[in-house]
């Protein structure tokens, strides 16, 4: 037995989900824009906590070379030998139109041995590269710059 007519039921106001859908869409857009799916070139290493330079270079670097705490080189999530690394660097230089135009980003762990960075720098100089970028991590508020070194 139904005591309530169909008309009354259809008129009963349901919960207004418009606001909820709005918020959920905003969250999805936020995650889509900030997700790090495209940042596979970044290996998980502790960068030196330094402010860096005010004038930041925009755009994606031609080659991102990660230097781990053990002095190993990682490019695009893959450990590479020194020889292979310089083959990649040569290719990037060719694609960029010359050693002065290429944008190379070196992401060295703050506790990476400097000899590994020096070998990389020497090899790049042999390829006539005159400038490079060393990645830093913007320090947290109250963090002393360079405090993570030697930890």
């Amino acid at each position: 037995m139904i005591f309530r007519s169909d008309e009354t039921r259809s008129r009963t106001p349901g919960p207004d989900i418009t606001a909820l859908v709005d918020v959920v869409f905003l969250l999805i857009i936020f995650f889509l824009t900030t997700s790090t799916l495209a940042e596979r070139t970044r290996a998980k290493i502790e960068l030196p906590g330094q402010r860096g330079e005010d004038a930041q270079v925009t755009g994606r670097p031609a080659l991102v070379i990660n230097v781990t705490q053990d002095g190993e080189y990682i490019v695009a999530d893959e450990q590479v030998s020194e020889e292979r690394l310089f083959v990649m660097a040569r290719r990037s230089i060719r694609q960029a139109g010359g050693p002065h135009a290429v944008d190379l980003l070196i992401r060295a762990d703050e506790n990476a041995p400097l000899w590994s960075v020096n070998r990389l720098a020497t090899g790049l100089m042999e390829l006539e590269v005159t400038s490079w970028r060393l990645a830093t991590r913007v320090p947290q508020p109250g963090e002393v710059p360079g405090s993570g070194v030697g930890r």
């Binding site: 959920v24 869409f25 860096g52 330079e53 400097l114 720098a121 991590r137």
Partner: protein, 141 residues
Amino acid sequence: MNFVPKEKRRMRSRLLRMEMTPMIDVIFLLLIYFFLTSSYTPPESSLTPALQAERISSGAGADFQPQIVEVALVNGRPVFRLLDQVFSTQEQLQTALSALPKEPGVFIRGSGVSVAGHAVSALQAARDAGFERVTYVPARD
């Protein structure tokens, strides 16, 4: 007065209602996916020193003394050496560099026994001291 029959009215209201449930299901699934797969990465910056081979020490005939900061280890402790002075912190190095002329630029020579973080500290100190021309020189050791 409403001339539309009652049955027709009911049908129209049923047709006009948009079914939101599957859409919300999909949206929530997407939301959960992004919650689970996204990872927080701290903001990054960079320093852009020039690169140069180790030739600067042989500049005996040059008009000016090259300004070189050596990143080294003394008794197992990392230090910055500048013109016979030894500094143990980045702040001390920056203060000393601030007093130097900026036109010739500064060279940062990193010893292989040190770590990358110290070389980056020296580069940052040079930039913060107001040097436009900062050159990194890998030491031959």
